[in-house]
């Protein structure tokens, strides 16, 4: 469906994207991950022909991405915005017509999606009269209005409340089941874990991890421990054999080395704090992300 080959882009004094290649198959949900400033948005813009790469190619169904291809792709940019003073339906009509839709097609499709997002009846209202969440729904509708083969969503979940996040998740799965290809970038690893087939993790413009999500996790093995507790858990990080750990107020996730002794760790922890849950598991994507990106403190800021 989509092949990205050796994309490279330099800005004034910074390499934004360095030799990135990946393939997205038809009908899959592909996660493009990475901390802020990693080059995700630049990559997406180059895929969409919004900016030109210095070198490298983007192939869509085996052919170079051209202006005509834009009609087959939907895009939700990261930073949200719409014409505030214009009416909802006029706005949708404009963006639909830019994708070469006829007015009747726009009407049908808009009705379907507005109903789905519980926005029917608001067609005549100005965008500025809608809540932020509803504006975001309108933007999503604009990206899928023309029934595109491929949908690129930059941080689709941010700004939605949990109810709407679930709604969006359902819709994405539905779109996938209808054979649509979805690429999305996000910082919210749980969404990725629930949705993505393949992922690609970018840092400083380079791919540091990519492949099938299930395989990536399997490669990490059952070397992860999750504890839920009450008390002061700060001592955990000093325990022998810990490769990496994330300690929160009453939750800790630990990635361990081979010389780690589960038994003595459990004994020690049991003495000092009150354990509510103790689980040995494969690591969460969250932990993998933080371990891979390295600079944990910087990333924590991003994730929170």
């Amino acid at each position: 469906m989509l092949e990205v080959k050796n994309l490279h882009k330099e800005f004034v004094n910074k390499i934004a994207v360095n030799d990135i290649s990946f393939t997205v198959n038809k009908g899959e949900i592909f996660g493009l991950l990475g901390p802020n400033g990693a080059g995700k948005t630049t990559t997406i813009r180059m895929i969409l022909n919004i900016i030109l790469p210095d070198s490298g190619v983007v192939l869509f169904d085996g052919k170079p991405f051209t202006e005509e291809t834009k009609n087959l792709v939907g895009y939700l940019p990261e930073e949200r915005g719409l014409y505030q003073k214009n009416k909802l339906f006029d706005t949708i009509t404009y963006f639909g017509s830019l994708k070469n839709l006829k007015i009747s097609e726009i009407k049908n499709s808009a009705n379907y999606w507005l109903k789905k997002f519980e926005l029917a009846g608001n067609e005549g209202r100005k965008i500025e009269e809608l809540s932020k969440g509803n504006q975001q729904k309108v933007q999503f509708i604009i990206s899928v209005l023309h029934n595109p083969d491929m949908i690129i969503l930059d941080e689709p979940f941010s700004g939605f409340d949990p109810v709407n996040q679930d709604l969006l998740k359902e819709i994405l799965i539905e779109l996938k089941n209808n054979g649509k290809t979805i690429i999305f970038s996000t910082h919210q690893m749980e969404q990725v874990e629930k949705l993505c087939d393949n992922i690609c993790l970018i840092n400083n413009g380079e791919i540091i991890l990519s492949g099938k999500l299930t395989e990536i996790k399997k490669n990490y093995g059952n070397n992860s421990i999750i504890i839920e507790f009450s008390g002061d858990g700060s001592f955990i990080k000093d325990f022998k054999g810990i490769k990496h750990c994330n300690i929160f107020e009453n939750y800790a996730e630990i990635i361990v080395n081979n010389d780690f002794s589960v038994k003595s760790f459990l004994d020690e922890v049991n003495k000092k704090i009150d354990i509510r849950k103790f689980q040995i598991t494969e690591p969460s994507l969250h932990s993998i992300f933080i371990e891979k990106v390295g600079n944990a403190s910087k990333v924590k800021e991003v994730i929170s």
Binding site: N49, I50, Y75, P77, G81, Y83, D90
Partner: protein, 417 residues
């Protein structure tokens, strides 16, 4: 470039802007403002008095007052046939001039008359007189009084030299000059200085207001699209060239709508007030310069809008543009006096000044045909070049956020493939 996408953008830019309050208000306010600005000073300056003015006259020579009074009162009449001025002779009691002034000033404040004239004692030698009052600003009044006193003085001198009064009357007969503008077709038409002047003036102001108004709208929409990233959705649907072309077409349509409405309002106003302030000779030529000028400036605004991050930032740049646009108005007066001056001619070959300066020159004195052809060619080439430059700046600028680009960066954008 695909026409359907261009038209989608054009339609949106046109319809959504025509509907805005700002456009509707300016559509109505601007012509009213222009008409008021042009008509009011004219009406006020040319307006004749409605009532007879009372003017005091102190004649320190004791030999001129009768002649002056007679000449002023009989020569200048109001529309209803009454004399325009009622001259009240004031005797002087051989007091000193300071005392006299104080005394007569007081009379004026008491309302016996509004203003008064003192004919100086030595007026035959030094010509000195005084015109005093709380409001002595009417140039027309002063000019009339001066002429009457001067005539009276020459009369007295000539009579002393033995010239007969009948001959004097013939000497002093006023001359009435009618200015008539001739064209090569041989048609002679009565035309005033003000009319030619206002024709240039009105078209330049219209062009200026139109460019500034629609230019601001373009900038506002571009800055909005940039700041909330709508531009990314647009560019993921059509090419930057299509977007820019659509915007310029939409803007031009908007401009044409506005001109059309202004013409309707203007024609309506001139019919209902029976004003004839605009000479419509060579209107087609003026409109050609008008449209080309508009297109040239539209590309400038596209460039400004795409490299600005906020309206304030854009306003600095549009400030320079409006200065260029105002220049011909500043020079209009000297152009009217000498439309063939080297300065005016040279300036009309500078692309950004061509439209306004040619509009300034055409009604005053039609430039030779080769000048018209050359300037139109210059304009067309500049429009093509500027649109190309604006397209380059647009392509890069709309996706760059943050600080305003330096000239070197702009040059790089233009050179980029």
């Amino acid at each position: 470039m695909r026409l359907s996408k261009v038209l989608s953008v054009t339609k949106w830019e046109y319809i959504e802007k025509v509907k805005t309050k700002a456009f509707i208000i300016s559509m109505i306010i601007t012509p009213i403002f222009i008409i008021a600005m042009i008509v009011l000073p004219g009406l006020l300056a040319e307006k004749s008095d409605n009532d007879t003015k009372r003017v005091g006259l102190v004649d320190l020579t004791d030999s001129l007052s009768a002649k002056v009074i007679n000449s002023i009162e009989s020569q200048y009449l109001l529309e209803n046939g009454k004399p325009n001025y009622n001259i009240i002779p004031i005797p002087h009691n051989n007091e000193s001039e300071d005392v006299l002034r104080k005394r007569v000033d007081k009379m004026s404040f008491e309302g016996k008359f509004e203003t008064y004239i003192i004919i100086g004692k030595n007026v035959f030698r030094d010509g000195k007189c005084e015109y005093r009052g709380s409001n002595v600003s009417s140039i027309r009044d002063i000019e009339r009084f001066t002429r009457s006193i001067k005539n009276a003085i020459s009369e007295v001198i000539l009579i002393q030299k033995g010239i007969k009064p009948e001959i004097l009357k013939e000497i002093n007969r006023p001359v009435d000059i009618k200015s008539i503008k001739i064209t090569e077709e041989g048609e002679a038409k009565e035309s005033g200085f003000l009319q030619t002047f206002f024709t240039s003036y009105i078209f330049i102001i219209l062009l200026m207001m139109l460019i500034m108004l629609t230019g601001q709208m373009l900038i506002r929409s571009l800055v909005e699209e940039k700041s909330n990233r709508i531009i990314e959705i647009l560019i993921s649907s059509c090419s930057p060239t299509e977007l820019m072309a659509g915007k310029i077409f939409g803007l031009s349509l908007l401009g044409l709508t506005q001109i059309l409405l202004w013409i309707i309002i203007g024609v309506g106003a001139s019919i209902s007030f029976s004003l004839n302030i605009v000479s419509l000779d060579n209107l087609l030529l003026i409109i050609i310069y008008f449209l080309f000028g508009y297109l040239l400036y539209a590309s400038v605004f596209v460039a400004i809008g795409s490299m600005s991050n906020s309206e304030q930032e854009a306003q600095q740049l549009t400030g320079y543009v409006s200065m260029i646009l105002v220049l011909p108005i500043v020079l209009a007066f000297s152009a009217v006096q000498d439309p063939n001056s080297t300065l005016i001619r040279v300036l009309s070959y500078i692309p950004f000044l061509t439209p306004t300066f040619m509009i300034l020159r055409i009604p005053i004195l039609l430039p030779p045909i080769w000048e018209i052809i050359v300037t139109i060619l210059i304009l067309i080439i500049s429009i093509i070049f500027m649109t190309w430059v604006a397209g380059k700046i647009f392509r890069t600028g709309i996706l760059i956020y943050g600080k305003k680009p330096s000239l070197i960066e702009l040059y790089k954008w233009i050179k980029a493939k």
